[in-house]
């Protein structure tokens, strides 16, 4: 029997609205279509009515998970237009916030993935461990989301020596818990049965369709903007870029957990070698020079890019925001084909989609 099974825009397995139409033969998905745009807020348009500092506040609200990534990439683009070189200490504080954000984002996603496959004890354990990172972010910025740690020309808030030691101590507690979660994810039979061979996207397809971030790396595509086009002093840190060859949902779990290990490495290096000096270039509202620049940042979900066009005033002439989910979501229909309806929610979630980011 052939059916068209609609999923979403609002569905228990999805935290945000997306609509997928599954064309099925019995239990098997023969074809699929994906529809977005249920969360479109016109943020790019709103940016043109604001100055650079107001825009930082606005773009930080594009996404509740990777808010720092948006503010950081916008700031980098404005700095690119104006030819501003940021102070080293400011760069390091940006990196520390970005890597803590990556840790909490990956742990959040892993918890949801475990919940979708019905492994709720792992879901609760993962989210419990994630709280250590949320505590660190709250200690750093005063907030669990929307950290407001970035300004044009550097970081907005400094890190005291006491806070630095406190975050390092939290990482000491977090690391063995992460190792335990990774060990269970790699060896648990239930997780393997629900994720291995599910939602496969080959390396060739991932490259052809423009997948990026952990989603691409789980298809054995070796890309990472932090290494390939270093910014914010990422070139100072030693870290590896994990890739995994199995190209399925299992690989997406493993890659994200291994990336957490690398983030901890970066955080330790940044916190232990935090340079002395200013954190920013002052508090003036900058004029955005006439011209344009594209900045790229490896956000938790993949490559985030901002185009900023200036006209010599304090206001943006144009801001264009393109998020990893905009590049990864078109791969969903491809991955759904040949899988069962029961796995559809997991496959959609496996790209760690953010429709708040995607729709803007």
């Amino acid at each position: 029997m052939s059916y068209i099974v609609p999923i979403g825009p609002y569905h228990p397995a999805l935290e945000e609205p997306i609509h997928a139409k599954l064309y099925t033969e019995g239990e098997v998905i023969k074809d699929a279509e994906v529809f977005v745009g249920y969360n479109h807020r016109g943020i790019e348009k709103l940016c043109t009515e604001r100055n650079a500092i107001q825009t930082l506040v606005l773009v930080e609200r594009v996404c509740g998970i990777c808010s720092h990534s948006h503010a950081l990439t916008y700031a980098m683009a404005v700095e690119g237009v104006n030819g501003i070189q940021t102070p080293k200490r400011g760069d390091y504080i940006r990196v520390i916030t970005a890597e803590l954000e990556r840790l909490h984002s990956h742990m959040l996603w892993a918890g949801i993935a475990f919940h979708i496959i019905g492994h709720d004890s792992m879901f609760m354990h993962t989210w419990d461990v994630r709280e250590k990172i949320m505590d660190a972010l709250e200690a750093l910025s005063g907030n669990r989301v929307n950290y407001s740690m970035v300004t044009i020309g550097g970081a907005k808030r400094d890190i005291s020596d006491e806070l630095r030691r406190d975050i390092l101590a939290k990482l000491d507690k977090f690391e063995p818990e992460l190792a335990r979660i990774t060990d269970i994810a790699l060896n648990d039979k239930t997780i393997a049965m629900r994720t291995q061979g599910v939602g496969v996207m080959t390396t060739e397809d991932a490259i052809r369709m423009g997948a990026n971030g952990p989603h691409a790396r789980a298809s054995n595509v070796d890309i990472d903007i932090r290494r390939d086009s270093p910014y914010c002093s990422y070139g100072d840190f030693e870290f590896s870029v994990p890739v995994w060859p199995s190209c399925d949902v299992f690989a997406r779990v493993v890659v994200r957990l291994l990336e957490c290990v690398e983030s901890i490495k970066i955080l330790r290096q940044a916190l232990e070698n935090l340079p002395e000096g200013p954190i920013n270039l002052g508090k003036k509202i900058p004029k955005i020079a006439e011209g344009q620049c594209v900045a790229r940042h490896e956000a938790p979900r993949g490559g985030l890019s901002y185009l900023v066009v200036g006209n010599g005033s304090q206001f943006n002439h144009r801001v264009s925001i393109h998020v990893p989910s905009f590049k990864n979501t078109p791969t969903v229909a491809h991955m759904l084909r040949g899988n069962t309806v029961a796995d559809a929610g997991l496959i959609i979630a496996s790209i760690d989609p953010c429709f708040s980011c995607l729709d803007r």
């Binding site: 279509e33 529809f35 977005v36 745009g37 479109h40 016109g42 790019e44 348009k45 709103l46 043109t48 009515e49 980098m76 700095e79 690119g80 030819g83 501003i84 070189q85 490259i207 052809r208 369709m209 423009g210 990026n212 890309i223 390939d228 086009s229 270093p230 910014y231 006439e290 344009q292 620049c293 594209v294 900045a295 790229r296 490559g303 890019s305 185009l307 066009v309 006209n311 002439h317 144009r318 264009s320 393109h322 905009f326 590049k327 979501t329 078109p330 791969t331 729709d359």
Partner: protein, 139 residues
């Protein structure tokens, strides 16, 4: 600071440039569109030539060839977005399905206006549409 190179090309060079980049294994970062301060439309194809971004752009062309056959979904979605929100035509692009705009706005009031019309005018337009709907429901 990341390197950002801008290279102006002609409309005829868009597809050969995309083919060359695809052949060299370069990723398409994004297709951008905006009206320059002099009022001319600029469309750019930005490729990751690590560590730089190379931006190949054309100016004053409201209709440009699609590169979706070369870059698949990585180009199709950005092209659809610019088609819907800025009204740029991509020759050869299938526009039968919407991306962001609701179906009832695609071919009527919405297409090509979101990123082009000043915000105040968009607010007036919204109020006008909502007013019409309210009147209809009251009737």
């Amino acid at each position: 600071m990341q390197e950002y190179k801008q290279i102006q090309i002609t409309k005829e060079e868009i597809v050969p440039t995309a083919l060359r980049m695809r052949h060299d294994g370069r990723r398409l970062v994004m297709i951008y569109g905006f009206y320059q301060t002099d009022g001319q439309l600029r469309v750019s194809w930005d490729y990751a030539v690590d560590p730089a971004v190379e931006s190949y752009y054309v100016v004053g062309e409201g209709s440009v060839p699609s590169v979706a056959e070369i870059y698949d979904e990585a180009a199709r979605w950005p092209e659809l977005e610019l088609y819907e929100l800025m009204g740029i035509d991509f020759e050869g692009l299938d526009t039968s399905k919407r991306l962001f705009l609701p179906e009832n706005l695609l071919e009527t009031q919405g297409k090509g206006q979101i990123l082009v019309t000043p915000l105040a005018e968009l607010v007036d337009k919204r109020d006008e549409l909502l007013g019409e709907k309210k009147e209809a429901s009251e009737e």
